[in-house]
Amino acid sequence: MSTLISIRDLTKSYERGKQKVEVLHGLTLDIPKGDFVALMGPSGSGKTTLLNLIGGLDQPTSGELTIDGKRIDRFSSAELTKWRASNVGFVFQFYNLMPVLTAEGNVELPLLLTKLSSAQRKKNVAIALQVVGLAERAKHKPRELSGGQEQRVAIARAIVSDPELLVCDEPTGDLDRKTADEILTLLQTLNREHGKTIVMVTHDPRAAEYAKRTLHLDKGQLAEQAAH
């Protein structure tokens, strides 16, 4: 399987006041296309930082970060913004939907950046909502949906522009066990049946079991790898 994400000697440090805090220390890692990786580790281990770098939300201090053949560590902020729009889907712990928009409005949002016609956008939105099993809740606003349904809408928003890569930050952290299992099954389906490469940060070992493999980070370095 070809490599989608190639990370070489990646470091990331932040300025906290006068102090320089190095969060990732020379990380090297490959994630092939179609993989489903769970990133685990204690708080402060650097897993969210790594996820942000992979998702193009932040830029590394040094090292190489290549995604689908593109050195995104060399991208400018504007280039990263453009790249994110068509290459990455994001799923957050607290869903982060727009409360003023309906489910379909939220899912359509990323498509406003494309040149698709209104009719084509509507069609894509309907498909995405159908994939996550929420076609009948399209006209509902987030406050009218349960947590699990909100997360499904967020997943539909993440996949509507058909990106290769999904990055998920604690996608089940705010859900009960049963709903979490449903969401994780949905992510698994997206990975297995739709070929999405998924990188997921989680604290929950049961959630990690849905991934193909788990990477443990500790103090900014890769500590352990386990296949499921």
Partner: protein, 385 residues
């Protein structure tokens, strides 16, 4: 959904707050429209007339009259094409409705002010009827006067020889303006000077001012200098100025209305900036994570700035347009009721100033929150830092 739809949806995330903000903007622009219209009204004369006419008044004050013996001397000044004289009558209709009334020589008025139009028959009748009077279309319409009526008009200044201030005039004509702008000025009435001069108790042979029509506007300055020099050190010293300056001076007798209006508007808009600015800032503060998500999804910094700025412009624009429309309606109502005495009109000048104000206020209140949104760092905003 469209980007515009998204902006509108965001505006109504807190309906009560949006409606209250909108109301404050509407009130501000309603006030702006009306006050600006008042300002335009007080400046109308100064913008309206050119230097094709000069006005000669007593050097002491325009309330001091000048002798009519100066008339042929003024007519003889090179560059002067025609001269008329007029006297403020201080007209009062019915109980206490003030009229803008002047005693004039009809033929001279016709010559010096060709902008006032009326059938030649009516001009002739005005000249031939000693108790004749003509009224502008606006004032006649306001009081429902019709040609042929005998109108009792009091003078707040001039009693007749029998001591009575109640005069009576025959309405022999209703005049119009040559174009829309002059038509709006048809709020004056003119009575026959010959009758006034003979019948008033304060004596005859004097007029309040002379109005000189010039053959060549370029010679206005020379003519004015010649006239004032001619009467220098005499008992009837004169002050000759353009009609524009004279009108400005006359308006200033009522106080610096423009300055007053400007200060009120400054207070109104300063408050508006604080109210709407605070609302916008609060609105952006409340949805930092949402703005960060927009950037995460691929909306550029400029797009996010645009969304916030568009919200500010939309709320100020909607409120401003509603406010100005209300002011226009109120202006029409006021004009209908007060008529010639308060000819305020929320016209294109007021609307132009209003539209500029909308753009400026919208940009100013939206810019700081929009810049904050633009500079937002996704990682920090999502982490709640």
């Amino acid at each position: 959904m469209t980007k515009t739809g998204f902006v509108i949806a965001n505006l109504f995330r807190k309906k009560t707050r949006t409606v209250l903000t909108l109301l404050s903007v509407i009130m501000a622009f309603l006030l702006f429209g009306l006050l600006q219209a008042v300002n335009v009204m007080f400046n109308a004369g100064t913008d309206f007339v050119g230097a094709t006419r000069l006005i000669t008044q007593s050097r002491v004050s325009f309330t001091q009259s000048l002798p009519l013996r100066q008339l042929p001397e003024l007519e003889a000044v090179p560059g002067v094409e025609a001269v008329m004289y007029e006297q403020w009558f201080g007209g009062v209709w019915q109980e206490n409705t003030q009229l803008i009334a002047f005693a004039v020589d009809p033929e001279r008025l016709h010559k010096v002010y060709p902008e006032w139009t009326m059938p030649e028959d009516a001009w002739k009748k005005f000249a031939q009827t000693r108790t004749g009077m003509i009224a502008g279309r606006q004032v006649a319409k306001q009081f429902g006067w019709k040609v042929g009526e005998k109108l009792p008009i009091k003078s707040s200044i001039f009693p007749q020889k029998d001591g009575s201030k109640a005069w009576s005039f025959d309405l022999v004509g209703i005049y119009d303006g040559k174009d829309e702008e002059w038509q709006r000025q048809t709020s004056q009435i003119f009575i026959n000077f010959a009758y006034f001069d003979e019948a008033n108790q304060f004596g005859s042979g004097r007029a309040g001012i002379y109005v000189l029509k010039l053959g060549d506007p370029d010679k206005a300055k020379d003519v004015a200098l010649t006239i004032d020099k001619k009467y220098e050190n005499s008992t009837e010293e004169t002050k000759t100025q353009t009609e524009k300056d004279w009108n400005a001076g006359f308006a200033k007798q009522m106080g610096d209305i423009g300055m007053l209006v400007r200060w009120i508007l400054f207070a109104v808009f300063f408050t508006l900036l604080l109210v709407v600015g605070n609302t916008m800032a609060q609105s952006v503060r409340e949805r930092i994570p949402e703005l960060a998500v927009l950037k995460t999804l691929g909306f550029s910094d400029g797009s996010v700035l645009g969304f916030v700025l568009a919200e500010a412009l939309l709320i100020v624009g909607a409120g401003g347009l509603i406010g100005l429309s209300l002011a226009t309606g109120l202006g029409i109502l006021v004009q209908k009721n007060a008529g010639a005495m308060l000819p305020i009109s929320v016209d294109w000048r007021v609307w132009s100033a209003g539209l500029i104000a909308i753009a400026v206020v919208g940009t100013v209140v939206g810019l700081l929150p929009a810049l904050r949104a633009q500079r937002l760092k996704i990682v920090d905003a999502l982490a709640g830092r």
